[in-house]
Chain length 238, copies 2
């Protein structure tokens, strides 16, 4: 069954890149890029990723397997406009997706067909429409929300995400572009509940896969019945 | 050898409590508390925690073992003033620490001796001094930074933290008090590097323990040598 999935590499403090580049200079020299490359180092070093880009070498390890598995599971992608623009030149004639990509944008544009099975279809009717178009194209495989962060938040907020995998790089950036930084339109006593279904530990990155269970109220449960247990719960864990 | 350790329960979006309570009403009814209790539910349900509070029951599982291990490893605690104030009444005559606690505060106060081995010593000379006093009291065991978030950030920023364990509750709060929310005085091209040393997966919480390796520059490495590999790294993982 087709699931809507997303995966994102994050620093321990929740950033997927350094502070957003102003666009004035070269992106490659920006703090945004420096943070991004640190967080995704496990990706760029993985054989499964390098192979998709046509580069030799790379590490053939558990991390590479996880990337390969992620690519394999995706029958179509949904992508934000900024990511699609940023990738258009560097991804080149044969982008790594090898599947239809639906780009959520306000600017109409003809579908861009690339080699190797990748195409970019520009969807101006919003994220739900992009996901529906991706569903039709996915052939029973998953719809992967490729990013960036804005799009992923929109999909999560709209209740359209079934599965989220976070790859936590062991680094604290201190500042940057954060995946989950408010803007989810949750009430004070409301949360999005998930359930971890797989955790893979490697020295370079920790992979945690979640099923997204959706919005739920934050309520105090019966822990209060223990004679003040909830008050006493102010704990070393806090 | 004595290590300076810290552990904190966080939501997937990095919060340890809901939005900070204004103090106008009852803390127990606040959004801060609602978030806090959701995130620490695995703690309050654990037998090892309930036993320290004098409550019966609780779950005797891997999570409880991890809590027991954490208590056992600590020979002394360092604590922030807000947490110490908040806990003073609910922790009662026999607080759960069973070891000397050094509270970092601006307000001098006589040491408060409680039953069961817990004492609260108020340190007005700053966090480094509190850690040194805790070291002398720890008898070769670890110094545990008990929290809250402000104190933990100070210890991390000062380069005094050896080990950090994060307990990730599978919930997105959307807003709240965030542990790692800037304020670490890191440069744009600087980060704090860590190394994950243990990951424990349970359905209710994911425990990741890190050794803190300290500040390091963010530099592009030789991945650029692959004919544009770094540029091509703008990836589905981003």
């Amino acid at each position: 069954m087709t699931k809507v999935t997303a995966q994102m590499s994050l620093s321990l403090d929740g950033y997927y890149a350094g502070p957003q580049d102003s666009g004035d200079g070269g992106w490659m020299e920006s703090a945004e890029a420096a943070g991004f490359f640190r967080i995704t180092r496990w990706v760029t070093d993985a054989m499964a990723w390098r192979e998709r880009l046509g580069f030799a070498g790379g590490e053939q390890d558990r991390n590479s397997e996880i990337l390969a598995e992620t690519f394999e599971a995706a029958g179509a992608y949904v992508m934000g406009r900024r990511m699609a623009d940023g990738g258009e030149v560097p991804w080149g004639e044969e982008p790594p997706f090898r599947a239809p990509v639906f780009v959520v944008t306000h600017r109409p544009r003809e579908t861009l067909v690339r080699k190797g099975g990748t195409s970019f279809t520009y969807v101006t009717e919003g994220v739900a429409s992009a996901i529906e178009q991706a569903r039709a194209a996915a052939n029973g495989k998953n719809i992967a929300v490729a990013g960036g962060g804005n799009l992923l938040r929109q999909v999560l907020e709209a209740g359209l995400l079934d599965e989220l995998e976070i790859h936590i790089a062991p680094v604290v950036l201190g500042a940057g572009m954060r995946l989950l930084d408010g803007g989810l339109d949750l009430g004070d006593f409301e949360a999005i509940e998930l359930a971890p279904t797989r955790v893979v530990h490697t020295p370079r990155v920790t992979h945690i896969r979640y099923t997204v269970n959706g919005r739920a109220p934050l309520v105090l449960d019966d822990r209060g019945s223990g004679g003040g247990l909830t008050e006493a719960a102010i704990s070393p864990a806090a």
